[in-house]
C-alpha cells in the first residue's frame, strides 16, 4: 500500500501487472520526478479538482478550440478531451528523443531526395523498388525536381511510445501534414490557467517558441533571388477539423492564412489577392494534401487548390512545405526499412528503435502473420489517423477470419507488428471521479530547414481514454496531456 491510497483523487487507481506506469513504481510509490507533482495534486479534494477540470474545459470551449460532431439535427461542438495531469520527461531521456527525431527526419529527407533523383538506395538493393512503384504517393511529377535547399520534409511528426521494457520505440513517421502542435500550446495554456502553482516546482521548457522556429524554417527555404520572403499558411477552410491549428499557426507566425481561392498564379509566380492588389507569395506552408494542391495537375475537381501552383513550384518560384510527394516516405512499409535507411545515408546506428515489422508482401512473413494474428497489430500501409488498424488480441474468431481474408486479398496493403505494451499514465476519468491508468504515446514535432533543425521541447502526449485501448488518435476518441520536458 503506498501513499496513493491516502489520496481521494486516486481512490480507484489500480496498478495492473505487466504495464509500465510512468508515475508510480512497483511498490506504488510515486517516482522521484513525480513526487512533488503527486503531492500537489493530492492536496485537492475531488470537488476542487472537478471545478478546475471544468474551468479548463470551458477555457478550450470559449477559445473555440473545438471540432464538430454531426448529430441527428444539428452539428454540435466538442472540445478535444484534455487531461490536467501532465507528463514529465527528464532531460536525459529527452536528449534521446530529440536526437533520434532529428536523425530520422534527416534520413527521411535524404531518402526522399534520393528516390526522386538517382535512386541509389534502390540500386544498392537496400529498399525494394516495389515499395515505391506500388505507392500512390510516389509522384512521378517530382522526379528530378529540386526543392529549394533540398528540403522535402520541413515538418515531421514522429510518433513514439515507451514500451514496458523502458525503451522508446517509433511507431510511425508522419511527413505529409502532421497536426497537433497547436494542442501542445493550448494544453500548456490550459494547465497554466488552472494550476499555475505547479509550475513553481518544476522547470519546464516553453512550448510557445514553435511558431517562430517554424517561420525561420520556412524563410530559410525561400526561392532563389528573394530577400524578404512572404510566407503563408494554406488551409482547406474553416470546416476542416484542423482549422483551429491552421489559424493558430498563421497568427502565431504573423502571416496570412489563405484558402485556395485567395491565391492565383500568373507567369508561374504565385500571388495572393489583397485589398491593395496582388502580392507575391514565396513560401507556402500547405495543410492540404498533395492531390488537392493543383487541379490542373492532380485531382481536377479539387476546389481547394490553386490552378498552376505545381508549375510555379517546379520552376522554383515558390516553395511548398512539405514538398509534394513526401507521402511516399511515411508509408508504413517504408517505415520498416528506417534502420537501414538511417544507416545508408548517415552511416549511424538508429537512436530510436523501430518496432519489428512483418511485411505481408513477403510470402514467409505473410504466413507467420496469418497464423499469429491474435498476437499482432495489423495496419494498412497507406492510412493515417489510426484508421483500419486491427489489434489481434481484441478480435473474435470470426473477426480474425475476416482480417485474414482482407490480408490475403491484398498482402501489399498490410504490415503487422507485435502488440506493444504502451506505457500508462494517470488520467482523470470523469465517470469514476478518480485517476486511472491509461495508455499514452508521444508525437514530437521536428523542423528541418537550411542548416537548421529544431525539435519542439514537449510534443503532444496522446491518451487512449478507453480502458485498455492502445489507439490514441484523436479521430479514435483519444485525449491529450501537457508534456513537460525538464531543463537540465
Amino acid at each position: 500500500m503506498g501513499a496513493r491510497h491516502d489520496n481521494s483523487l486516486f481512490k480507484s487507481y489500480l496498478k495492473k501487472e505487466g504495464l509500465l506506469d510512468e508515475v508510480f513504481d512497483n511498490t506504488g510509490e510515486a517516482k522521484a520526478i513525480y513526487q512533488e507533482l503527486f503531492r500537489l495534486y493530492g492536496a485537492h479534494s475531488i470537488s476542487d479538482y472537478v471545478h478546475l477540470n471544468n474551468k479548463a474545459k470551458n477555457s478550450f470551449f470559449n477559445q473555440g478550440i473545438t471540432f464538430q460532431v454531426y448529430g441527428e439535427n444539428e452539428a454540435k461542438e466538442k472540445i478535444f478531451p484534455f487531461d490536467l495531469f501532465p507528463r514529465i520527461i527528464d532531460s536525459s531521456e529527452w536528449e534521446i528523443i530529440e536526437s533520434g527525431s532529428i536523425q530520422r527526419s534527416k534520413a527521411l529527407n535524404l531518402f526522399l531526395w534520393d528516390i526522386y533523383h538517382e535512386k541509389r538506395i534502390i540500386k544498392d538493393n537496400v529498399v525494394p523498388l516495389d515499395l515505391l512503384s506500388s505507392s500512390s504517393n510516389y509522384l512521378h511529377q517530382m522526379m528530378g525536381v529540386d526543392p529549394p535547399n533540398g528540403i522535402y520534409n520541413h515538418i515531421s511528426g514522429i510518433d513514439i511510445v515507451k514500451h514496458s521494457d523502458g525503451n522508446y520505440y517509433v511507431l510511425e513517421d508522419n511527413i505529409r501534414c502532421p497536426s497537433g502542435v497547436s494542442y501542445v500550446v493550448c494544453n500548456r495554456t490550459a494547465l497554466k490557467r488552472a494550476l499555475f502553482g505547479v509550475f513553481n516546482h518544476y522547470q519546464a521548457h516553453t512550448v510557445t517558441d514553435y511558431a517562430e522556429n517554424l517561420l525561420d524554417i520556412l524563410e530559410s527555404v525561400k526561392p532563389k533571388g528573394v530577400d524578404n520572403p512572404t510566407c503563408v499558411v494554406i488551409t482547406p477552410g474553416m470546416f476542416n477539423s484542423a482549422y483551429y491549428e491552421h489559424s493558430y499557426l498563421a497568427k502565431a507566425m504573423g502571416v496570412e492564412l489563405v484558402e485556395g481561392q485567395d491565391l492565383f498564379v500568373e507567369n508561374d509566380f504565385v500571388y495572393m489577392k489583397t485589398i491593395n492588389g496582388p502580392e507575391r507569395v514565396d513560401v507556402i506552408y500547405r495543410r492540404i494534401d498533395d492531390l488537392f494542391i493543383d487541379p490542373l495537375e492532380f485531382k481536377p475537381d479539387s476546389a481547394l487548390g490553386v490552378p498552376g501552383l505545381f508549375a510555379a513550384y517546379r520552376k522554383g518560384n515558390v516553395c511548398l512545405a512539405n514538398a509534394p510527394g513526401t507521402g511516399v516516405a511515411d508509408d508504413k512499409a517504408i517505415y520498416t526499412y528506417m534502420p537501414q535507411i538511417i544507416k545508408y545515408y548517415l552511416n549511424e546506428e538508429p537512436i530510436l528503435n523501430n518496432v519489428q515489422t512483418y511485411h505481408c508482401s513477403r510470402p514467409d512473413e505473410l504466413n507467420f502473420v496469418l497464423e499469429n494474428i491474435d498476437k499482432l497489430v495489423i495496419k494498412p500501409v497507406d492510412e493515417a489517423g489510426g484508421y483500419g488498424i486491427s489489434i489481434g488480441n481484441q478480435l473474435t474468431k470470426s473477426e480474425i477470419k475476416a482480417v485474414q481474408n482482407q490480408i490475403k486479398e491484398n498482402p501489399r496493403k498490410y504490415v503487422a507488428q507485435p502488440i506493444l505494451s504502451l506505457s500508462v499514465h494517470p488520467t482523470y476519468i470523469d465517470k469514476k471521479e478518480s485517476f486511472e491508468q491509461r495508455h499514452i504515446d508521444l508525437r514530437t514535432f521536428t523542423l528541418l530547414g537550411k542548416d537548421k533543425e529544431f525539435v519542439l521541447k514537449g510534443g503532444l502526449t496522446r491518451v487512449a481514454l478507453k480502458e485498455g485501448n492502445l489507439v490514441v488518435n484523436s479521430s479514435q476518441g483519444g485525449g491529450s496531456k501537457d508534456t513537460w520536458v525538464l531543463k537540465k
Partner: protein, 314 residues
C-alpha cells in the same frame, strides 16, 4: 490583408452592430410602451408591428400578431433571416474565417457571445427573458467593440472592421428613424398628438441611447425637428449619422491613402456624402423625411457596394 478576409471582417463588424440595434429596439420599444402616455403607444400590437416594421417586415393594419411568435422570430428563430441569433452566428462565422487576424480576446468574446445565445432557453426568452436577453446582447456587443478598439493594431484590419460597424450604425439609425417616424404618424391619427410632439421621439432617442445626451444638449422636450437634428446632423452625438460618417471618413483614409481619391473610389463617395451632411439643414430633412430616408439608405448601400468592388473582389 486578403480581400476575402477583409470582406469577412467588414461583415463581422456589420453583424455585431446590427445585433445590438435590433436588441435595443426590442428592449426600448417594449418597455417604454408599458407606461406610455397614450393608449396607442401602449398597445402591444402597435409595438410588435413597429418591431417588424423596423426589420423590414411590415404587417397589414388588421393583422393580429402573436407576441411570443414575434419575439421568437426576431430573437432566436434560426429560420428568420433577420433574427438576432442569425446575426450573431454570421458575425462568428466571419470571425472564424479571419481568426488569424483578430485578437484572441475578440475571438473568445464573440465565441462566448454566440454560445450564450445558442444556449438561451427559447421558452424563457419569449415568456420572461426579453429584458435579460436584450440587455445581455447589448452588453456583449459593447464589450466586443471595446475589445476591437483595445486589442487590435489600429491598421487596415481595424479600419475595415470600423468601416463595417459605422456603415451599419448609420444604416440602423436611419431605419430606426424611419420606423419611429412611421409610428408617430400612426399614433397621431388616433390620439391627437401632433407628429412634431409625439411621444415616439423620446422612444426613438432611447433606441439610439441618446435621450439623456439630447436632454443635456437642448434642455427641452424632444420634437421631431430637434430629434432629427440631433440624431442625423450632430457630430458630437456618438450615434448620429454625422458621427458615423466622420468615422467612416477617417477609416477609409487608412485604406485609401491617395490625396485626391479617384472619382469612382469609395473614399470619394464617402467624402462627398460627408460634405453634403456637413452643410445640410434639418429643415430640408423634415420637409420630406421619407425621401431623405430613401436617399441616405441608397447612398450608404452605394458605399458598401463600392467597397466590395474596390477591396473585396477576389
Amino acid at each position: 490583408m486578403l480581400s476575402r478576409v477583409a470582406n469577412n471582417l467588414f461583415w463581422m463588424g456589420r453583424y455585431i452592430e446590427r445585433s445590438e440595434h435590433i436588441a435595443r429596439y426590442l428592449n426600448v420599444n417594449y418597455f417604454s410602451s408599458l407606461d406610455a402616455p397614450n393608449e396607442k403607444s401602449q398597445s402591444r400590437q402597435f409595438v410588435l408591428k413597429s418591431m417588424l416594421f423596423m426589420l423590414g417586415e411590415p404587417s397589414e393594419d388588421h393583422t393580429v400578431l402573436n407576441e411570443e411568435k414575434v419575439l421568437f422570430n426576431i430573437g432566436l428563430n434560426t429560420d428568420s433571416y433577420f433574427s438576432i441569433i442569425n446575426n450573431v452566428k454570421a458575425a462568428r462565422e466571419n470571425a472564424n474565417s479571419a481568426r488569424d487576424l483578430i485578437s484572441t480576446e475578440i475571438y473568445e468574446a464573440i465565441n462566448k457571445f454566440y454560445h450564450f445565445i445558442l444556449n438561451y432557453d427559447k421558452e424563457v426568452f419569449v415568456k420572461k427573458g426579453l429584458y435579460d436577453f436584450t440587455v445581455n446582447v447589448i452588453e456583449q456587443c459593447m464589450i466586443l467593440r471595446g475589445k476591437i478598439r483595445a486589442t487590435l493594431l489600429h491598421d487596415q484590419v481595424y479600419a475595415i472592421i470600423m468601416m463595417g460597424i459605422n456603415i451599419e450604425r448609420a444604416t440602423q439609425i436611419i431605419r430606426i428613424i424611419n420606423a419611429k417616424y412611421h409610428d408617430a404618424t400612426v399614433a397621431k391619427g388616433s390620439y391627437g398628438d401632433t407628429v412634431a410632439n409625439s411621444f415616439e421621439w423620446i422612444t426613438l432617442l432611447k433606441c439610439a441611447e441618446a435621450y439623456d445626451m439630447m436632454r443635456r444638449f437642448y434642455k427641452k422636450t424632444p420634437t421631431s425637428i430637434s430629434t432629427l437634428e440631433f440624431l442625423v446632423l450632430n457630430g458630437d452625438c456618438p450615434r448620429s449619422v454625422m458621427n458615423s460618417l466622420n468615422q467612416i471618413c477617417d477609416h477609409i483614409n487608412v485604406l485609401d491613402r491617395s490625396k485626391h481619391p479617384a472619382k469612382d473610389s469609395t473614399a470619394f463617395l464617402v467624402g462627398k456624402l460627408r460634405a453634403e451632411f456637413q452643410f445640410k439643414k434639418v429643415e430640408e430633412i423634415e420637409e420630406d423625411i421619407q425621401r431623405f430616408i430613401e436617399q441616405i439608405l441608397q447612398k450608404l448601400f452605394g458605399i458598401s457596394q463600392k467597397m466590395e468592388e474596390e477591396f473585396f473582389k477576389f
